[in-house]
Point group: C2
Chain length 639, copies 2
């Protein structure tokens, strides 16, 4: 066999025709990680072919664009001539998956002009001091100075009026005022004084705001300089409410029970602790005080919003499932209990319904869905499986009670996507031996959502389970067995795990996961049917929610969780909710758009919809009863 020169980075090596790129790289001293064991399934071994060509045996996990750009899977690409390749820094890829975007990566909206679109303004004022010929009251004097800055009318709280005289005199009639010039719920109201400091603050000193997304599981906070739009710190933390219930339903039950016992606001306190902790952390990074934050824009699902504000959420849980309020009035830091400036504006973004909250309206804005002509499916995979179908002309939405299975709850060895969670699994189709990747650890503790999706898909593809989810106990491997909870497949032996116990997935777990994925897929189906279009005609799928980022799309398609579409039609947008809050924080027009989205979205209540039950039942198979919907999925035929 002829030899070819493969240049790996700057290192040339000789390899025989037919070698794999991984082998060539190894010869050049570069070990490319192959988490799936070289089966071409994980896509983690992608390299860039910079010169020459290779024969790609498989391009799974690569988009057409990727291929055109020269990417190839090192474990699936055969050397048939001289080539040069660049091995991507693997560590960088890993980090990208595990953490959020870094602050520098959030793009400030093009042409951000705070004067035009930011409601919070800071103005340095020089007041005329009083004398015997000018005895106007202090407040009138301040109003005059504000008018000179174009702020025609303003309003102060009683507490501010109590401080007014002292502040003006302490600053010797030079003060810096911060005002919210336009409340979304009263554009014609006078500007509201937030802060008044003696002396002049430097014009380029940052003016802080925060965008907050309160997820059922994770709370995310971005600290933003409102003068430039720059995100200066991004922090996230588990919602401390988790200790009182994993999902919104259990939290509502807890809150209702405790409210009857006279113990109001315990869940409120927990989420406030979470946010205030994040605030502290973010502010420390930029050497600011939490009380320097003059505006907060808050997104989150309807239950999270009610619990934050200590508004009883019980009606969300009980038929006919209504919220107390979708469109919360403008509030202040003091009213909400945030440790930002007590008079800072707190703007809670509007939701649509009990199970389609501000996280979705904000998500739709930040996804750009409402700007495109192409029919688009926007999904936020999580407990509620909120889905929006639409484009710039129409928007239709629903939420299905998927349950928390994909968040690791209701699955014996399930866990949240934290340290020790198995997040990706591959099963060898010959030996049924799994390979897995664990978050931030060598030894696994359990399996998180993305791990469960991968595991289900691999089991289906390798025939460990059939399309009904039944485990094939006849396979020649000790990993299939009947355990305490019935049939199960062992993913990790006790010898490999952190706690020394086997980590297995049971038949019951699989049933829960099938019901969850069926509910989500049925939601898509109902929306498409309601609009009279086939689901497959959707031209793109936007996946929001931090959960979405970690999902292996092919595997999610394989189990029938996501519709069967080409890889490149899926776009992972990350936390669209906090991004929408960020846009609303910066720009009153974006804020108005979010409200417009909320009011133009048609909400379909699935529990009142007969077609949902049918669609759900049809989806209780892997991937689906109707295999024509999943042409690319070919389950193994079990013997």
């Amino acid at each position: 066999m002829a030899d070819h020169t493969v240049t790996v980075g700057t290192q040339p090596v000789q390899v025989p025709t037919g070698s794999l790129l991984v082998e060539a790289a190894h010869r050049a001293g570069v070990d490319i990680q192959q988490p799936c064991g070289g089966q071409g399934r994980c896509g983690r071994c992608a390299v860039l072919v910079t010169e020459g060509t290779v024969r790609r045996r498989s391009t799974l996990r690569l988009s057409a664009d990727d291929i055109a750009a020269g990417y190839a899977l090192a474990c699936q690409s055969v050397v048939e001539g001289d080539v040069s390749i660049t091995v991507l820094p693997q560590e960088k890829i890993e980090r990208r998956l595990k953490t959020d975007l870094t602050a520098a990566e959030v793009k400030v909206p093009a042409g951000y002009d705070p004067q035009a679109v930011q409601t919070v303004r800071r103005v340095a004022l020089t007041l005329a001091p009083p004398n015997m010929d000018d005895q106007r009251d202090d407040w009138s004097r301040l109003l005059t100075a504000l008018r000179a800055e174009g702020i025609e009318a303003a309003r102060a709280s009683l507490a501010q009026l109590r401080q007014l005289g002292r502040t003006l005199r302490e600053g010797d009639w030079q003060v810096t005022a911060v005002l919210d010039t336009e409340a979304w719920d009263c554009p014609d109201c006078p500007a509201r004084l937030i802060d008044l400091k003696p002396d002049h603050v430097a014009a380029d000193a940052p003016l802080w705001g925060v965008a907050v997304d309160i997820g059922t599981t994770t709370v995310t906070l971005w600290l933003v300089n409102l003068l430039t739009g720059e995100v200066r710190a991004q922090v996230a933390e588990y919602n401390r409410q988790i200790e009182r219930g994993e999902d919104v339903i259990s939290r509502i039950i807890y809150a209702t029970k405790n409210s009857r016992n006279g113990d109001h606001g315990q869940l409120r306190d927990l989420v406030l602790e979470t946010i205030n902790g994040l605030l502290e952390t973010a502010c420390k990074r930029v050497l600011a005080q939490p009380t320097d934050v003059m505006k907060a824009t808050i997104s989150g699902n309807s239950t999270m919003m009610h619990l934050l504000l200590d508004i009883p959420a019980e009606s969300i849980r009980l038929s006919p499932f209504v919220t107390a309020v979708n469109d919360v009035p403008t509030l202040t830091g003091r009213e909400v209990g945030l440790n930002i400036h007590p008079d800072a504006t707190v703007d809670c973004l509007p939701g649509v319904a009990s199970y389609v909250g501000a996280d979705i309206t904000a998500g739709v804005l930040s996804s750009g869905l409402e700007d495109v002509e192409a029919v688009t499916l926007f999904i936020d995979i999580g407990t509620n499986g909120e889905t929006v179908l639409g484009n710039n002309e129409w928007l239709i939405t629903c939420a299905c009670s998927a349950g928390p299975a994909f968040e690791g709850s209701g699955v014996i060895n399930g866990m949240r996507a934290t340290s020790g969670a198995i997040e990706e699994v591959w099963i060898n189709s010959d030996t049924y031996e799994p390979t897995y990747r664990v978050i931030f650890s060598d030894k696994p503790v359990g399996i998180c959502g993305s791990g469960l999706i991968a595991l289900m898909a691999e089991m289906l593809l390798t025939g460990v389970i059939d399309k009904g989810g039944n485990i094939n106990l006849t396979l020649p491997t000790p990993r299939v067995r009947t355990g305490e909870h019935g049939p199960e497949y062992v993913v990790a032996w006790g010898s490999e795990t952190a706690h020394g116990r086997d980590i297995a997935i049971t038949r019951v777990d699989i049933d829960n996961l099938i019901r969850a994925k069926a509910a989500i897929y049925a939601g898509f189906t109902v929306l498409a049917e309601r609009m009279g279009i086939p689901l497959e005609t959707a031209e793109q799928v936007l996946v929001g929610g931090s959960f979405g980022k970690y999902i292996n799309v092919e595997k999610a398609v394989e189990i029938g969780l996501l519709p069967d579409m080409p890889w490149e039609h899926f776009h992972f947008l990350g936390n669209t909710s906090v991004r929408g809050a960020y846009l609303g924080l910066l720009d009153k027009q974006a804020r108005a758009q979010i409200r417009a989205i909320a009011s133009r979205m048609t909400y379909i209540e699935l529990s009142a919809d007969n077609t949902f039950y049918e669609a759900f039942t049809s989806a209780l198979f892997l991937p689906h009863t109707d295999l024509s919907r999943f042409p690319s999925v070919q389950p193994a035929v079990t013997t």
Copy 2:
């Protein structure tokens, strides 16, 4: 001498020609009180001549209208033919002088139409209950019902949103909402929800509001049914702040001192106790709860307003004498600390300057001054002697620091107009023996403001003092003497008094009183000079403040406190401040007028005005250096 028949009531008696009406009445068994000893000075013996005529020797204390109506002073009217007279129920006259108008006597403004002018509205709403086909949130549901009542937009507090769901369900979607539809400081703002009760309240059940005047000495509260405009209870009580200082200056000093010691709001607490006590009393009378009160309109001088709101008042006291705020934003019961509905509107009326407060702007409105063409002098005699000169075209105002002498302070035997105070005095010009009237008691304790004015005038008229205020110690009476504090005149011997000590007025007291009256009169002079008109061209004098009602006008003119004008040009309006608050409470147009008055009044700062000092010096005589200003006053020539 011929006899004539005098019919007293229904009792005819025969009296000789030349008899006085008092003698005829006595013969008929009716003893008419003559507090001044039959000198024709007090006017208290006025009777109505219903048939025939009498010869009036004196008509002092009777207006031309009174005479035309048939009134005659019984001690000064001579029988010269058959007459019938009606003796007015004396007790009623007394009560009228001592207490405020009874509720029934306050006239509801003609054509009061709450739908048109009242900002507070109560609406009974029937909401569409939610179901699976209508899952709008509770708040949207309420908004829809409000829109059907013509309330286009509304706003709720966080606390109200917390209660919303329960109230709607408790009322089975039938509720009664109370809203303030228009804040004076934001007519374009959404209506503000005040109260939401489950079930429907009867449409004719009263809707309560209160008008409050916070006087430095007395706090007055009127409880009003906003649906009809009727005043249903009127109560008044001493301002409990009195124990921390008699006048505004001493209160500001106290508040500032205590605020530095970290003890904020002590004066606030005291006035709140006073108002809340009155509220309790008034509500009990109509079987209502204080929390049923949905709106409070508050008047008072600028210091009282600042202390009520716990806004530092120190700048009011110190040059250049400015308030923190004249135009207080709309507040709520909770914010202010009133025990009315926590979300009730509290509207503090606007003042003009440190010493021309809301009591004066409200007073100008309720006096009707700004509606007349005639140049009018409006005065509120008290510590500050606020004065307004003007008409429907212009208004000019000032305040002079009269000091608290007329409120009984700074005078050794001075006291407030309460039980035991000598309120009226007459001195016999032959014997120098006084006759006096005591409030609610037989035995005097001290002398109140009106008593001091009367005493000064009587002493001047009888020569006990000269125009410089010097006591004539050579008079043949033991009542003039040199006491512990120098020259003095004894009004009541210890044997007559409640405490057994002599009640005397000293030379030093007289000096204080002269300075006080000089300051007030100088204020009038400055305003007139500023407008370039003689003071005497003012066509009417409106005397506001509860103090004004008790003043004997002639005596006030005699000492040069009031300008020398015909009796009928004076009108005592009582508490114009609470009446203005009442009008503002009822009618948003009246409220807007008060604000317009505040902004169109030109304020003259007397302490920066050279003409004031000259006018003050000229007025340091009884009645004045320039006697041509007081043609009707003829002081006794002392020997």
